[in-house]
Symmetry: C2
Subunit: 235 residues, 2 copies
């Protein structure tokens, strides 16, 4: 009974932290009081404590208590016994490196696969995929591996951005970058625009928000997915 | 007698490959007939042969012959004996991985340090820095290390982009990403805008093109460098 909510971003323009997701979070965490928070992606380098405070603010309206995993002595047991788990965004390299150094990758995967509800935003969504290789982040630290939790049979590209037809910038577009990924890898990629999130109940994957997602498969022209059917590459 | 030309990009909007650099290339390679080309960054996944053809077109007007290193049996000797070396842009992870797999990192560093002229564009400029950790590229392959050639005492961020004050996108700006790098690393970063390039003659570093560069040092507010003085962090 796998249950995941994978969001492109924590915050929308003119919104506050998690504000656009409040109704969804209310239903997702209906029977849950406490959520274990993983702050290791440290957006803009803020401290684990600072980040945990921000996460708490995002969950105060629906009355949930947030516990920063960094404050606990036995993080392995904390994951195993958590009512629910939330990983916030930031730098994916830093997040993945921390999870490997603390030897938390396997217990996270096992616990979520057994049914502990999981929510990720941005980098926290990225690690639910097969690998972190479609992150947008800078490689500020060298992790022991790019393999991630593999909770879904694809990779995610959060904050997916459409090419700007008016742009004069010659840096690669997001689409070009993902195509480069597919010259060496055959894992499908879901480009998740800001304001979109995936709800996963076992094998059933639903796209939420008002936007379509852009799907990239090796050797195919990228296409839009409206979420009304299951992802075409899932048999 | 180190001699490097490190460009932010190979191509400007409404220009052709290397067109904006023709005059500089003419002087830089005045006494040189043949340039060894390293095509391993494979932009958009094009083949080494295709990429070498594009590079040849960029150097045809000034009458230089381009030799793709991938066509040679002994690439180590080819670097050692090259008249000049050019590394094109593309994916930095792929480029660095290839250079490590082929065991070419050390001979490249040594040869350029001894005076063989080197030109890089984008990923090819990135590898001249201390590490590849301020690349904009996706981690499409896991290289054995993020260490690069260390030909200059800083890192580069090619295709540097200023934050767009009108943007509603919540993905990290380039400046935020580089600040995240500095939460863990103290290597200065030169943000090189498209249309800019660095000329390096031994320890003397000149900024060319019509734009300033944005300089990031750990613990300091980022600032502009107009190239009229040497880089402030170089003693």
């Amino acid at each position: 009974m796998k249950k995941l909510l994978l969001a492109s971003t924590s915050t929308l323009h003119e919104g506050t932290y998690l504000s656009y997701l409040q109704e969804e979070l209310y239903h997702f965490f209906e029977k849950i009081d406490e959520i274990l928070f993983i702050p290791y992606a440290r957006p803009s380098g803020i401290s684990h404590d600072q980040y945990t405070k921000i996460a708490q603010q995002g969950f105060s309206h629906i009355g949930k208590k947030i516990i920063g995993i960094h404050t606990l002595d036995n993080q392995y047991e904390a994951i195993r016994q958590a009512q629910a788990i939330f990983t916030g965004g930031g730098n994916t390299f830093l997040l993945v490196n921390e999870l490997y150094q603390l030897q938390l990758i396997d217990i996270l995967r096992d616990t979520i696969n057994k049914g502990t509800p999981y929510i990720g935003t941005s980098a926290g969504s990225n690690i639910a995929g097969q690998t972190m290789q479609t992150t947008n982040d800078m490689p500020i630290i060298y992790p022991p591996s790019f393999q991630t939790l593999g909770l879904v049979p694809f990779n995610l590209n959060p904050h997916y951005l459409d090419p700007d037809p008016k742009s004069t910038h010659k840096g690669e577009t997001r689409e070009t970058r993902i195509k480069e990924f597919h010259t060496l890898n055959n894992i499908p990629v879901v480009g998740l625009r800001e304001g979109s999130w995936l709800l996963i109940n076992n094998e059933r994957i639903t796209l939420k928000g008002n936007l379509t997602a852009r799907i990239f498969e090796q050797g195919k022209i990228p296409y839009e997915w409206d979420g009304k059917t299951n992802l075409p590459f899932i048999k």
